[in-house]
């Protein structure tokens, strides 16, 4: 991405020339290092120590990889890893699938579409914590408005206690996320669709391709790099899911919606086991690191085009 910056030569003394950009960067760099690198390093160090806040105020002795051994033998950790994986797959598929549908439906110049496009951003601006409460309210099995609508359309839905059932609780959690993300993804994809020149599709149409073929043979391949970026981006934010878990299900029923972030939170904040929580949070850092690398590669490829 740096390659896109245009650099114009400027005559200046070498020392000044070299120090000036760093002087500009210093304050922001200091803030970012202090608020991201420091905690990451601190958490890494803590993850090798024994430290329960209910026992000591200060960090205890170093225990090597013991915390990590505990992580990988902890069933509740594996449960939350699985919950996070399921949640990520469900919310990525639904968000990107629905986002693509919305984008294709709105990819025209009518006034109604223009209005809808303008409003697409609204759900994303709603605080995720509030999204959780809002959907919990609307899917209340006795009084919720969405519950009543669903019951009238689907008879079998009448007996479903949305947040009391492990499967549906996870689906509701995914839905709170999809509500914000699908429209945003649609906006991103609409940007991509705009950059596909109409001539390409026109050419396909003249060659006798029907709408379905036009989509799969022309639009989709051209949109694929962008779709890949969107999938990774959504996956990263899904792995980080926390807010709605607290406000919608509180991790329940049982541990059915306990995401990794929520698990780390409950270990650290509720059980005050800082050492163990730090090890868990570093496992999350590594998972996200892999996703981040894939995302940056996809982005670099997109830019190389």
């Amino acid at each position: 991405m740096a390659a896109t910056t245009v650099q114009r030569p400027r005559s200046r003394s070498p020392l000044r020339k070299h120090s000036v950009p760093y002087l500009h960067l210093a304050p922001a760099l200091l803030a970012v290092v202090l608020t991201t690198v420091y905690p990451l390093v601190s958490a890494l160090i803590t993850s090798f120590r024994h430290w329960r806040l209910n026992e000591t105020r200060e960090a205890g002795e170093f225990v090597g990889l013991a915390q990590y051994q505990r992580v990988f033998t902890d069933d509740t950790f594996f449960n939350s890893a699985l919950v996070t994986l399921n949640f990520t797959v469900i919310s990525v598929v639904l968000s990107v699938g629905l986002g693509l549908c919305i984008a294709l439906i709105l990819n025209n110049r009518t006034r109604l579409s223009a209005l809808t496009k303008a409003l697409l951003i609204l759900p994303f601006a709603v605080a995720p914590a509030l999204k959780g409460f809002s959907w919990r309210f609307m899917l209340n099995p006795d009084t919720g408005v969405y519950d009543k609508m669903l019951d009238s359309v689907l008879p079998f839905a009448d007996n479903i206690n949305w947040l009391g059932d492990p499967f549906w609780a996870l689906m509701v959690l995914a839905l709170t996320e999809v509500w914000g993300w699908a429209p945003l993804i649609a906006l991103m994809l609409l940007g991509g669709l705009n950059s596909i020149s109409p001539e390409v599709r026109e050419a396909a149409r003249i060659d006798g391709a029907n709408a379905w073929q036009q989509f799969w043979r022309v639009t989709f391949p051209l949109l694929r790099p962008l779709l890949l970026i969107v999938v990774f981006l959504k996956a990263v934010f899904s792995v980080k899911i926390f807010d709605q878990v607290v406000t919608t299900t509180g991790g329940g029923p049982g541990r059915a919606t306990e995401s990794l972030n929520f698990f780390a939170y409950s270990q650290g904040f509720t059980f005050l086991d800082i050492g163990y929580a730090s090890a868990v949070s570093w496992v999350i850092v590594l998972v996200l690191g892999v996703l981040a690398a894939l995302y940056l590669i996809a982005m670099a490829r997109q830019e190389a085009k």
Binding site: S134, T143, I229, A264
Partner: protein, 298 residues
């Protein structure tokens, strides 16, 4: 005259006849498709807007209607009175949210603008690496930042203060708006800067009197995003500020009472959390997609 007109009209029509028949068939399809498209668009509008509409509606419902699906009722301000000085007062949380979001924005804009200017105008060792690092910060899970700060702020006696939240919010906001502002500075013409330099303008003056006014629209967008990110943040205040410096999204939890959720008040508080952000989002909506992907979508 009519004769020639009909002749002229007939002539091309005769040739175009097969084409036109084909078009008419397409026309029938097109109307059907346009109708389906309108239906689908209305469904999208419903999906996007209904939860917002429903919360706004519930906020004004009297207690006895809060659990009904009634759309017609006598509107009341009871729920707002309850959260402003009433039974479940959220005034303090509102003040905290505003203070923290404003302070985060005021601190991060100058830092980010300086950094964005450097990234945009200079090429230096580490340029690309640092830009990548800035994108990478967005992938750090919140707990990995909140936990160390929880123990640090505890030992510094800063737990549950506005300052603590402003500091951790910088981890979200500074990288994000640096990237955003870099895009804006990239788009500023170099000629004005060069002219200012020729007139003997110092670097400080250049940044303050030339770049800042020129980048004002970008700074506004960055300020909106900074405010929005701080305002909606939930994980950091959950870890670091549970009473004194509690922000609105966390304070919503106080409406979950042992006897059940006070949904009317929740809706009123929700409207309070949501409404300013909806307005801000509409103001900067063009920049959302590019902001989220940090420039991947242009």
């Amino acid at each position: 005259m009519t004769d020639t007109a009909t002749k002229l009209a007939k002539h091309p029509a005769a040739i175009a006849a097969p084409v036109r028949r084909q078009r008419r068939r397409r026309g029938g399809w097109a109307i059907g498709r346009a109708f389906l498209r309108v239906l689908a668009t209305l469904a999208i509008l419903f999906f996007v807007l209904f939860p917002i509409f429903w919360m706004a509606l519930t906020a004004f419902k009297p207690a006895r209607d809060a659990f009904s699906t009634a759309v017609l009722f006598t509107p009341t301000l009871d729920n707002f009175l309850a959260i402003f000085g009433g039974a479940s007062d959220l005034t303090g949380a509102l003040v905290n949210s505003v203070l923290i979001a404003v302070a985060t924005t005021i601190v991060s804009i100058p830092l980010a603008l300086l950094a964005a200017y450097a990234f945009s105008r200079y090429r230096f060792p580490g340029h690309r690496g640092m830009l990548l690092a800035i994108v990478a910060t967005q992938f750090i899970p919140g707990v990995a930042i909140a936990l160390p700060f929880l123990t640090l702020f505890r030992s510094l006696g800063l737990i549950d203060t506005h300052l603590a939240l402003v500091v951790v919010n910088l981890s979200l906001v500074v990288p994000y708006i640096t990237w955003l502002l870099k895009g804006f500075v990239d788009g500023l013409p170099l000629e004005i800067e060069e002219a200012a330099r020729l007139d003997g303008c110092t670097q400080v003056n250049l940044l303050w009197r030339v770049i800042t006014p020129l980048a004002a629209p970008g700074i506004f967008v960055a300020a909106v995003f900074s405010f929005l990110l701080s305002w909606n943040e939930f994980l950091f205040p959950t870890f670091l500020a549970r009473t004194e410096a509690e922000t609105l999204p966390v304070a919503l939890m106080t409406l979950v009472m042992p006897e059940g959720v006070a949904w009317g008040q929740m809706a009123a508080a929700g409207l309070l959390v949501m409404a300013p952000m909806l307005i801000l989002a509409l103001l900067v909506r063009k920049h959302f997609a590019e902001g989220m992907t940090m420039g991947a979508v242009k």
